[in-house]
């Protein structure tokens, strides 16, 4: 009954989406207020219907109704409740339902909170949003119905892939989808703007909170996925340039570029057609990601078993959505009025450079991801494009970006002097050089090329902090005034500072982890000790432990440093009884400066166990940096000048920085 209710709600949602996608567009073209007024309530109704459907599926999972094929294939009564719920999106059909639910959520949010949007524009945005929904709801109803029944119903389900039974992964897909699907709003805003033929600073102002929200969620989603891969897969790495990782990373890169170019539209009314194109491409990359991940053209953890019909359906959706959008763009963009001029050395120029570098980086990642597929389709040799390719293409493009970033963010709009930037940043530059040289001299073994990474990270942090600090400190007058000036900075400026410092922290973390990792692979007998990066590791032995739905062999390691106790670490080889599958749980001890990361391997005939011991410097900085970047996004969202529905700011408030 519940399953049928969920299915029925989904069919109704499809009908509502059709109405919401078609009527307001006609209404807007004919200036018919009645038709236009359909959009907001339809968006809310659509959210309600899909929520009912989603709720129904969650319910079926909680009560373990195995007469539903999807539940039977992906759940089991012995699973803890959390993983019964997260199992809802741990499979193809359920994750699609989450996808359309979030799409409807964003549509309803625009309907509910977009009070400052002109009525016509808003109805067009909602209509485009609904049309995307039509495509994906049709995809679900025709190829991937999560409510399909099984007859006869099995007594027990088949369980969920054990590596997915994990708190990090319970959170990762919803977060990632909030980002992925959130970019649908920027797409809808771009299409609505093109239909209206009006792209101006207020358009960019409306776009801003939605881009920021999507970007922030995507940042956290990617970080969660990377964190999960780090501690769960037991390889001690945090990023593998796996095609599926790239699929989420490309919209992030394009979205980051969009975030910056929208600022130029907002402040200077220029770079308009480029920004529109970016808004379209960002969502196109999200759709491409969905296609790559869901169609099974890739072999990966995420590739739910492939069904060619599904792949073709998503590909068709991709072609229609992106092709249609680009055709509209080609038709309408030339009529957009070019805006203000600017000198190459200016804030606009710097943001343009940021965009060009990010776009090139996106293109290299895209090429590396699609090249093996294209070669395969064309009948060429089978190849794999892995980290060496991305290190050789993506990383060099980041160097000029990071070098220019602190400089660009202190340049004035329209026309700036480099000498002014030098004046503001020379102290930070000198400090960066001094710190880098100190690193070079003090570190043993010598750093080599990784010094560039550390130097760039330090430069990003110091160069970003230099401006607000010197502004607050310069014209004398006590600590109180210093603090008052600092806190007088608008929140959007703080957001930029926090996000850019976060990037610096991330760069340092990534550099340290990928170049400074110590690894030892040993065969250890219980009682033996080994040395790892200055720590003594004693392998105390292996015993059997039981969990809710698994049995494990648990290896215990005692870590000391110069005789002093540091930590006791446990690494499990778990065997999941239902799924009949083993997994490995690494033992991890984290501090701000390093992770100790131990993995228990297989026993050898003579009683020794293979163990893998890692010392990973500064790993925590990677997640910390990502969290800071997301925090920057949230800070910027909370700036009341940009809040949706906030009154237009007074001129004075826009004049940065407060004095």
């Amino acid at each position: 009954m519940i399953a049928e209710l969920g299915h029925f709600a989904l069919v109704l949602a499809f009908a509502v989406a059709l109405v919401q996608g078609v009527l307001p567009l006609f209404g807007a073209a004919r200036r018919d207020a009645t038709l236009v007024a359909v959009a907001p309530p339809a968006a809310l109704l659509q959210l309600l219907l899909i929520s009912i459907s989603f709720g129904a599926l969650v319910h079926l999972y909680i009560v373990s109704d195995f007469s539903v094929a999807n539940v039977a294939a992906n759940s089991h009564q012995s699973k803890p409740l959390v993983y019964r719920i997260s199992g809802v999106w741990g499979n193809h059909e359920g994750s699609l339902l989450l996808w359309v639910w979030i799409l409807a959520l964003f549509g309803a949010a625009v309907a509910a909170f977009g009070k400052n949007l002109p009525v016509l524009f808003k109805s067009r945005v909602l209509a485009v949003q609904a049309l995307i929904g039509v495509g994906f709801l049709a995809f679900m109803l025709f190829t991937s119905n999560p409510f399909e029944r099984l007859d006869p119903a099995p007594l027990e389900g088949r369980g969920l892939n054990p590596i997915l039974q994990d708190p990090g992964l319970a959170m990762h897909p919803p977060m990632l989808y909030l980002g992925y699907v959130g970019f649908s709003t920027t797409f809808s805003f771009a299409i609505a703007g093109l239909l209206e033929g009006r792209i101006d600073p207020s358009w960019a102002r409306w776009l801003r909170p939605w881009t920021l929200a999507a970007w922030t969620a995507l940042t956290l989603g990617i970080a969660l996925g990377s964190w999960w891969a780090y501690y769960e897969l037991g390889w001690g790495g945090f990023w593998f340039w796996d095609p599926v990782e790239n699929a989420s990373f490309m919209p992030w890169l394009a979205g980051t570029a969009l975030l910056h170019s929208a600022i130029v539209v907002e402040k200077r009314d220029t770079l308009k057609s480029w920004t529109i194109l970016l808004a379209i491409l960002t969502f196109a990359l999200s759709l491409l990601g969905t296609f790559l991940v869901r169609s099974g053209v890739l072999t990966s953890v995420h590739a739910f078993a492939s069904d060619p019909a599904r792949g073709v359906f998503i590909l068709a959706l991709l072609v229609i959505a992106v092709g249609g959008a680009l055709a509209l763009y080609a038709w309408r963009a030339p009529s957009l009025q070019g805006g203000g001029m600017f000198a190459p050395v200016s804030r606009e120029g710097a943001l343009l450079l940021n965009n060009l570098l990010l776009a090139s980086a996106t293109a290299t990642v895209l090429l590396g991801t699609l090249y093996p597929l294209a070669l395969d389709v064309l009948g060429g040799p089978k190849i794999s494009v892995g980290p060496p390719y991305f290190n050789a293409t993506f990383v060099p493009l980041m160097i000029p970006l990071f070098l220019a970033l602190p400089i660009g963010s202190v340049l004035a709009w329209k026309r700036a002097e480099l000498s002014g930037a030098v004046q503001r940043l020379w102290l930070a530059a000198v400090a960066t050089v001094v710190l880098s040289v100190a690193l070079l001299l003090l570190r043993d073994p010598p750093l080599g090329l990784s010094l560039i990474g550390y130097g760039l990270g330090i430069w990003l942090i110091l160069g970003t902090l230099a401006d607000p600090l010197t502004r607050a400190a310069l014209p004398g007058g006590g600590l109180a005034r210093f603090w008052r000036r600092l806190s007088g900075l608008p929140r959007a400026s703080w957001a930029m500072v926090v996000a850019h410092v976060g990037l610096g922290v991330l760069v340092i973390g990534v550099t340290a982890t990928s170049t400074g990792q110590s690894e030892r692979i040993l065969a250890m007998k219980p009682g033996q000790t080994a040395e790892l990066a200055g720590y003594e590791v004693r392998f105390t032995g292996v015993r059997e432990v039981r969990g809710p739905n698994w049995i494990a062999q648990r290896g215990t390691f005692e870590v000391t440093r110069d005789g002093a106790f540091v930590a006791e670490l446990f690494s499990d080889k778990r065997f999941f009884l239902v799924e009949q599958r083993p997994t490995t749980e690494a033992g991890i001890h984290t501090t701000l400066w390093r992770d100790l990361y131990f993995v228990l391997g297989d026993p050898a005939p003579d009683g020794a166990w293979t163990v893998r011991l890692y010392h990973n410097p500064l790993v925590a900085w990677i997640w910390g940096g990502a969290v800071l970047m997301a925090l920057g996004g949230l800070l910027s969202l909370s700036d009341r000048r940009f809040r949706v529905g906030a009154p237009r700011p007074a001129r004075a408030a826009a004049a940065v920085p407060a004095e």
Binding site: A305, P344, L353, P381, G386, I521, A523, K573, P605
Partner: protein
């Protein structure tokens, strides 16, 4: 007007420079930094030079896994038509076992031994790397493997993931 022209010019120059730069990076990297996927029978037909990195895929031959005291593991990878011995130090994936399809990344040594730096098995045991499945089909080993129950056709449904 003159300013606008100059602005355009700088922009075009910048775009060209960056475009050419990234294209050069990509081309250089695609030439050198990608690894070929090879099946054991490919190697038997046309040996690759020692020291070149590539990916080897196939089934772990039954009864071939040998764990040495120093932590090194040796096993044979087969596609039915030919076999290559692989040496690996480290922790094998959870789903590594005899009869399972795997992909190993590494280099050939002079004696024909494949030294792997990485061994991948899929996260899902009912799912076989596509490259391995195709290599097996070419080697004519596909059906036999299925009958042994070790490996089977990737099922039409039931893969799992995110």
């Amino acid at each position: 007007m003159r300013l606008r022209k100059r602005q355009r010019l700088v922009l075009v120059a910048l775009v060209l420079l960056l475009g050419a730069g990234s294209a050069a990076l990509v081309l250089a990297a695609l030439g050198e930094k990608v690894s070929l996927f090879v099946a054991p029978s490919d190697l038997a037909e046309k040996p690759l030079e020692a020291g070149k990195r590539f990916r080897l895929g196939g089934l772990v031959a039954e009864g071939s896994v040998e764990r040495r005291a120093d932590g090194e593991v040796r096993f044979a990878v087969t596609d039915g038509a030919a076999t290559v011995t692989v040496a690996y130090r480290g922790i094998l994936p959870d789903l590594f076992r005899e009869g399972q399809g795997i992909v190993a990344q590494g280099t050939l040594e002079a004696g024909g031994l494949f030294r792997a730096s990485e061994v991948l098995a899929k996260h899902d045991e009912s799912y076989m790397p596509k490259e391995v499945a195709e290599a097996l089909k070419r080697g004519g080993h596909w059906k036999e493997a299925g009958e042994e129950g070790g490996a089977s056709l990737p099922p039409a449904a039931g893969g799992e993931g995110r």
